[in-house]
C-alpha cells in the first residue's frame, strides 16, 4: 500500500515536473537570451522549495577595539568596546541564507546564544533580511555549551540547512558548526566558499588542505561560511524599520556542563623598535635577516 502511494506520488511529481518544464519552454521562446543560471534556479525550485534555514549569529568586538583585560586578566575589558555581528556570520552565512530564500522561497531564522545585550546585533541580522530570530537566554559558555543549545533548539525543527561563520573573530576556534553537526548527526561542510542548489542536490565548494574541493550533498547539512560564499549586504531603511517588529523569541537554555574554561588572558610582548635599512641598499636587509635575525 505504502509502496503504491509512493509510486503514484512519484508519478504525480514527474508529471508536475514535465508541466513546469513545458511552461518553462514556452517562456523560453519569449526570452531568447535566457541564461543557464536561470534554468538551474528553476530546476532547483522544483525540489528545494521553501527551504527552512537556520543561521547562527554571534556578537564580536568591533575589529578596531582595544584589546585589554580586567579582574586580574580573567575578563575581557568591555569598556568602550562596540559590538558587531561576527563578520563571517553576517557577511557570508546570513547573506547566503537570505539569497537562498530569495531564490527558492522559505524562511531564515537566526539563533544567538547569549544575554539580552545581544539584541542590537540580532536586530541588525533581521534588518539585513532574516525573518525571525531566536535568542537562547544564557550568558555564553564554551563552544560546547553554545553548540549544545543550538542543537537542542534545531533538533525537532526540520531545518534543511544550518549555516554559521567559519569562526568568531574573538575566539577563533572554528568549533560550533562541527559540534552542532555531530550532535545532530548531519554532514558538516566546513570553510565553504560557494553553495548552489542543483535540483535536490547541494553543490558546495570548500577549502581543504592544499586546495579546493567540490562536494555534493543531499538532505540537511551544516555549513560553515568562509569568504566568497556571499557578498556583504548593508541593511536599508526599510529593512531596519521592518526589523523592529520581526519576531525575536527568547527561549530558556538547556542545562549542559562547560568542558573548557578560560582561566586567564595574556597580551603578546611588545615589539622592539624597527631597524631601518637604506632603500638603496636592500642587500643590507638580506645580511641582517641572515646574520642578525637568522631567518634566512
Amino acid at each position: 500500500m505504502i509502496k503504491e502511494i509512493e509510486s503514484s506520488k512519484n508519478q504525480l511529481f514527474q508529471k508536475n515536473v514535465r508541466n513546469i518544464m513545458r511552461a518553462y519552454e514556452i517562456e523560453l521562446n519569449f526570452r531568447a537570451n535566457l541564461s543557464g543560471q536561470k534554468w538551474l534556479s528553476l530546476q532547483a525550485r522544483i525540489k528545494y522549495k521553501n527551504m527552512k534555514i537556520l543561521v547562527c549569529i554571534s556578537k564580536a568586538p568591533d575589529t578596531t577595539s582595544r584589546i585589554a583585560f580586567t579582574d586580574n586578566n580573567t575578563k575581557f575589558d568591555e569598556n568602550g568596546v562596540q559590538y558587531i555581528v561576527n563578520p563571517y556570520d553576517e557577511w557570508y552565512a546570513l547573506v547566503k541564507g537570505i539569497e537562498l530564500k530569495e531564490a527558492l522561497g522559505g524562511n531564515v531564522t537566526t539563533i544567538t546564544v547569549g544575554g539580552a545585550d545581544n539584541e542590537p546585533i540580532i536586530r541588525k541580522a533581521l534588518a539585513i533580511g532574516a525573518d525571525d530570530a531566536v535568542r537562547v537566554d544564557l550568558e555564553t559558555g564554551d563552544s560546547f555549551v553554545v553548540a549544545s543549545q543550538i542543537a537542542a533548539y534545531a533538533k525537532d525543527q526540520g531545518f534543511d540547512l544550518i549555516l554559521c561563520g567559519k569562526e568568531t573573530i574573538n575566539y577563533n576556534s572554528s568549533l560550533v558548526g562541527g559540534m552542532v553537526a555531530e550532535m545532530l548527526n548531519m554532514p558538516y561542510l566546513s570553510l565553504a566558499t560557494s553553495l548552489t542548489m542543483e535540483g535536490s542536490t547541494a553543490i558546495v565548494e570548500r577549502e581543504v588542505q592544499g586546495g579546493m574541493e567540490v562536494l555534493e550533498v543531499t538532505g540537511p547539512f551544516v555549513l560553515s561560511a568562509a569568504k566568497g560564499l556571499a557578498e556583504q549586504r548593508i541593511p536599508n531603511m526599510r529593512g531596519i524599520m521592518a526589523a523592529r517588529t520581526k519576531p525575536l523569541n527568547v527561549i530558556a537554555a538547556v542545562s549542559v556542563d562547560q568542558t573548557a574554561e578560560i582561566v586567564s588572558y595574556t597580551l603578546p610582548a611588545p615589539k622592539g623598535a624597527c631597524k631601518y635599512v637604506d632603500a638603496d641598499h636592500p642587500e643590507e636587509l638580506i645580511r641582517l635577516l641572515h646574520e642578525d635575525a637568522k631567518v634566512i
Partner: protein
C-alpha cells in the same frame, strides 16, 4: 598510555601541519604517539621521523569529516588514548569538533603551547585574531587539542614507525566528492604552513605588478599573500587574504610590501617571528609592528632586493 594524532596525507606523505602535530604530541611526554591516517600511504608517511611510534592506516580514499571523526574516535578507544591532537588547519577544523563531541572531550582549538599540567590541564591558545592569548583549562578526562600551524615547529626524532591497518566501520555519508583543485600546482607550501611569506597590498597599484612579488617569493621558496582590499577587488585570489577576516598566519619571516598595516591586517600576521615592511610612507602604521623596515618606493626597492636575494642564495 598513548596520544593519538590525526594526520593528513598528501601524495602518500604526512602534511607539514601533521608532522608538527606529531612533534607536539611527542613533546607532551604522555606515552606512545600513535598516528591515524587514511588514503594512500607510502611507507610510514615520514611520520616515524617526527615522533610517531605507530601509524594506524585506513586505506579508504575519500572520507567525509563525519566518517573520519568516527574512525578517529574508534582508534582512540582502541589505543586507549585520552588525548587526540590535530593541526588547526582546514582538515582539523572539519574533524576535530566532531571528535570532541563523540569522545565527550573538552577541546582547545588553536593551541600555541604544550599543556601545563602543574595545576589541572591548561593549554594556551591564540584569541582575538592573534591580538591576545588565553589559557584554557580543560575539565574533562578526555581531551582534544588542535595546534595552530607554525606555532610549535618541527622536531625530528629520527625514529621509525610501525604501520598497522585500521579497518574500522566508517559508516555511510550523504556527501560525495566531485572534484579537487589544488591551489598551487607546483607543490608549493600552503600559505598557513609557509615559513616565509611575501605579502603585498594596494601599494602595488594593480595585479599586473605582482611579478616582482612572486619572484621574491620563489627565491625564498615562500608563499604569497595579500591584504584584504587586494583580494576584494580581485587582484589576487581570496585564499591569499591574510588578517582578521582572512587567514591568520605565523611564518618565521613576513614581508609586507605596500601594505599600510591597518589593525585588522596586523591581527592576522603579528604572530610572525620577523616582520619586514617596505612602504614609501614613513608614517605607515606597519613600521610600528616591524622588525626591519625600508622606507621607499616598492617599484624601485624590489628589483634591488631581488638581486640581493639572488646573490645571497647563490652563495
Amino acid at each position: 598510555m598513548s596520544v593519538l594524532v590525526y594526520t593528513d596525507l598528501h601524495d602518500g606523505k604526512a602534511s607539514k601541519g601533521s608532522l608538527e602535530a606529531l612533534s607536539y604530541a611527542s613533546k607532551m611526554n604522555a606515552g606512545d604517539v600513535v598516528a591515524f591516517c587514511h588514503g594512500t600511504l607510502n611507507g610510514d608517511g615520514g611520520m616515524g621521523a617526527f615522533g610517531a611510534a605507530k601509524v594506524l592506516h585506513n586505506a579508504t580514499e575519500n572520507l567525509d569529516a563525519g566518517q573520519i571523526a568516527k574512525l578517529v574516535t574508534d582508534a582512540a578507544a582502541q589505543t586507549g588514548a585520552d588525548v587526540v591532537v590535530f593541526s588547526h588547519d582546514n582538515s582539523g577544523k572539519a574533524v576535530a569538533p566532531r571528535v570532541a563531541v563523540r569522545m565527550n572531550a573538552g577541546i582547545v582549538a588553536g593551541a600555541i603551547s604544550l599543556p601545563d599540567t602543574s595545576a589541572g590541564y591548561v593549554v594556551r591558545k591564540s584569541v582575538f585574531s592573534g591580538k591576545a592569548m588565553a589559557d584554557v583549562s580543560l575539565k574533562t578526562g578526555k581531551k582534544v587539542i588542535s595546534i595552530v600551524p607554525n606555532s610549535f615547529g618541527l622536531h625530528r626524532t629520527d625514529g621509525t614507525a610501525s604501520v598497522e591497518t585500521f579497518n574500522g566501520d566508517a559508516g555511510s555519508s550523504s556527501v560525495k566528492v566531485r572534484s579537487f583543485k589544488p591551489t598551487s600546482t607546483d607543490g608549493a607550501v600552503p600559505l598557513p604552513e609557509a615559513d616565509i611569506v611575501v605579502s603585498a597590498g594596494r601599494g602595488m597599484k594593480g595585479p599586473e605588478n605582482w611579478g616582482p612579488v612572486e619572484e621574491l617569493a620563489s627565491i625564498f621558496g615562500a608563499a604569497t599573500a595579500c591584504s584584504r582590499p587586494v583580494a576584494d577587488i580581485g587582484w589576487r585570489p581570496h585564499h591569499e587574504h591574510v588578517g582578521q577576516t582572512g587567514i591568520a598566519i605565523r611564518p618565521t619571516l613576513y614581508f609586507a610590501i605596500g601594505i599600510s598595516g591597518a589593525i585588522q591586517h596586523l591581527a592576522g600576521v603579528n604572530g610572525s617571528k620577523v616582520i619586514v615592511v617596505i612602504n614609501k610612507d614613513p608614517e605607515a602604521p606597519f613600521f610600528k609592528a616591524a622588525d626591519y623596515g625600508i622606507v621607499g618606493d616598492a617599484f624601485e626597492v624590489l628589483p634591488k632586493l631581488i638581486e640581493a636575494a639572488k646573490s645571497f642564495k647563490s652563495h
